[in-house]
Subunit: 382 residues, 2 copies
């Protein structure tokens, strides 16, 4: 395999993760071939990317009704067609929200490597997706910095010897704010993340710590551990991306300057690690201090809501994910306040009537119900 | 192998590492059987240990001329006989100074697992010892916390993908002292290490940073990297025991509260990790700050001397090790000052006439020459 380029489909190529994936491919040209690009809203950029990388397949969600002449070398295809296409070796799922779910399942069924950057896929349907992965004999490759860190720490180790996974959280821009100050937070403030440059949805989720709550759920599925084995610590520097404690008391951590290109590249090149001088390096000749403290679960109710939804299981995590996605949209549109995000999610979870051991249809129904409930709730309250 | 106890020979059983090894064996009784104990000066404790663990073989360096009646179940044997004995599966070399060299080679030639806690073995004769290990197809299991950390970080990783090994150093009790203050340091002050409880020799070596310099040499041999790939950082907390940077920029670290029982147990149980509730745990609900800064190579000349000796190679590292051992003895006996340790080692290295690609005899000769030179130098200067 060493001299054959890995053929990659990038779903969500115009988002933050998608663009950084293409940066990696630009540097490691001989290792990868982009065979499919798919994007939602930013069609101009998608056309540009297609002209540069010349994929066989493209997907536009909206904005272009007919294929531009300049893309005559591409075939249009649905996300599921791309994910299962015979010319694809690895599918990078970097869509946002529930859009990633069906293509992830399609890719697993076609026994493709799946690099997963979309949180909601495992949060909403972890049980189902992991069953598909297990059936196909495919390991899902995490792209998130935290899960990539855990995955790296587990290299060569035995899952049965894990005592605890410790997810680090930057704490976002407001982790020292009191209750009062929090209610006045604007979208503009919340979008200014202290350490990470990311998409809007995940940046707001980082500020509420919902992001970390969803990562608890993802970690549970990716690494097959009990929820009680997953801890969260606040680490404002975002240098230690997560840690694993083993049953002998030894702890392993993965560190790097905060830059998503490293976990993306690791997922693409795994099990190899390739040199890339574009990636930032730790500086050992500069003083560095790394601090850790426990999160305040009451000031960040989203963290608690996520853990509770995970404990209840069934369709609760799907509802959590859908309600949060809608609530974040409302917040970004200045229609609700920052602290209303948790309130809407909580109210939606409270009213939800769960479906036990849900199949895909039940999950999608719960998702749709939660979105409707969230919209109604916000209309009534505002 | 799971239900057969591993048969262990502890060379240096009354020292700090030896005693902690027996603590581990006490907890994991069904996993290990102590078949041999060997000690130097502390014969009372050795008799006690033998009565408790009932080894087949014992070795006393001095103090008892005939075997006490209470040990009628033991056979006396030399260190080399013990290391190569058919009833031994793993030899823990926890002697201090050059005493570990011959038994290590004997154990490797007899194809035993070797857990190495003795620094001087690899410092003096790394080339030879690694050639023996390679020939026997045996990996040397490091017991030092730093090398254990690197070894753990390298589990499942590829040696060719290592960019850098980063050894952490507590800095010892004096790492903020100025030149002036250093010359007045007494053995009593130097023996008070801020984070580690260890034997006297290694505690003084920690205070001069000679210990870290010798670890550079060990790491080079254990992990087959160039000296230029080994970095030292001061980390006063002694929680991060060392780090590995890979060529993609990712860094892995191993952490645990400073307690030698963890690396000892890891070497004994490898590749398994076993639960042991006697071992301290990291506390994730307590704020923690880990700081790192570069060492001051001029205030700690031993670090520079060790690196230079390693770069020169041949018999220089053996001379470094021997001169340091003698100098530390002189310091502990209040016969020289703290800063004289580096001066003696430097003077000895300067006068040394090296032997290229030394065999064992040449190494032992260089060692003897260095000890004599050190003794003479100190007599002339004092």
């Amino acid at each position: 395999m060493d001299h054959i380029a890995k053929r990659i489909a990038v779903l969500g190529s115009t988002g933050s993760i998608g663009r950084q994936t293409l940066e990696i491919v630009r540097v490691l040209r001989d290792k990868f071939q982009i065979v499919a690009l798919a994007a939602g809203r930013n069609t101009d950029l998608l056309v540009q990317q297609a002209l540069e990388f010349r994929p066989n397949l493209v997907y536009f969600e909206e904005g272009i009704s007919s294929k531009p002449d300049c893309l005559d070398f591409c075939t249009f295809a649905s996300l599921e067609e791309i994910a299962g296409h015979p010319n694809v070796d690895l599918v990078l799922v970097a869509t946002s929200g529930k859009a990633g779910l069906n293509p992830t399942i399609a890719a697993l069924r076609a026994r493709k490597q799946v690099a997963l950057a979309n949180k909601e896929v495992l949060v909403s349907a972890g049980n189902l997706v992991m069953a598909e992965a297990c059936h196909a004999g495919i390991d899902i490759l995490p792209v998130d910095s935290e899960h990539s860190a855990i995955w790296q720490c587990l290299r060569g180790e035995r899952t049965a010897e894990i005592e605890r996974l410790v997810l680090t959280a930057s704490g976002g821009p407001f982790f020292r704010y009191g209750h009062e100050a929090m209610s006045g937070i604007t979208p503009e403030q919340a979008l200014r993340h202290p350490t990470w440059q990311m998409g809007k949805k995940v940046t707001i989720d980082s500020a509420t710590l919902m992001n970390k709550g969803m990562e608890i759920i993802e970690a549970r599925w990716l690494f097959n551990v009990a929820l009680s084995q997953i801890e969260v610590v606040i680490h404002p520097g975002s240098v230690v991306h997560s840690l694993v404690e083993f049953r002998d008391g030894s702890v392993k951590a993965q560190l790097s300057p905060p830059d998503m290109r490293l976990p993306i590249q690791y997922a693409l090149t795994y099990p190899e690690r390739l040199p890339n001088d574009q990636l930032p390096r730790m500086k050992w000749d500069t003083p560095m201090s790394l601090s850790f403290e426990k999160p305040d679960w009451t000031r960040f109710p989203c963290l608690t809501l996520a853990r509770e939804a995970a404990e209840k299981g069934d369709t609760y995590p799907a509802v959590l994910s859908a309600a949060d996605e809608e609530a974040v949209e409302l917040f970004l549109a200045h229609r609700i306040g920052f602290t209303d995000i948790a309130k809407i999610v909580e109210a939606t979870l409270e009213k939800h009537e769960p479906v036990e051991n849900p199949a895909l249809e039940a999950i999608l129904e719960a998702d749709a119900w939660a979105r409707q409930f969230t919209a109604d709730w916000s209309l009534n309250k505002l």
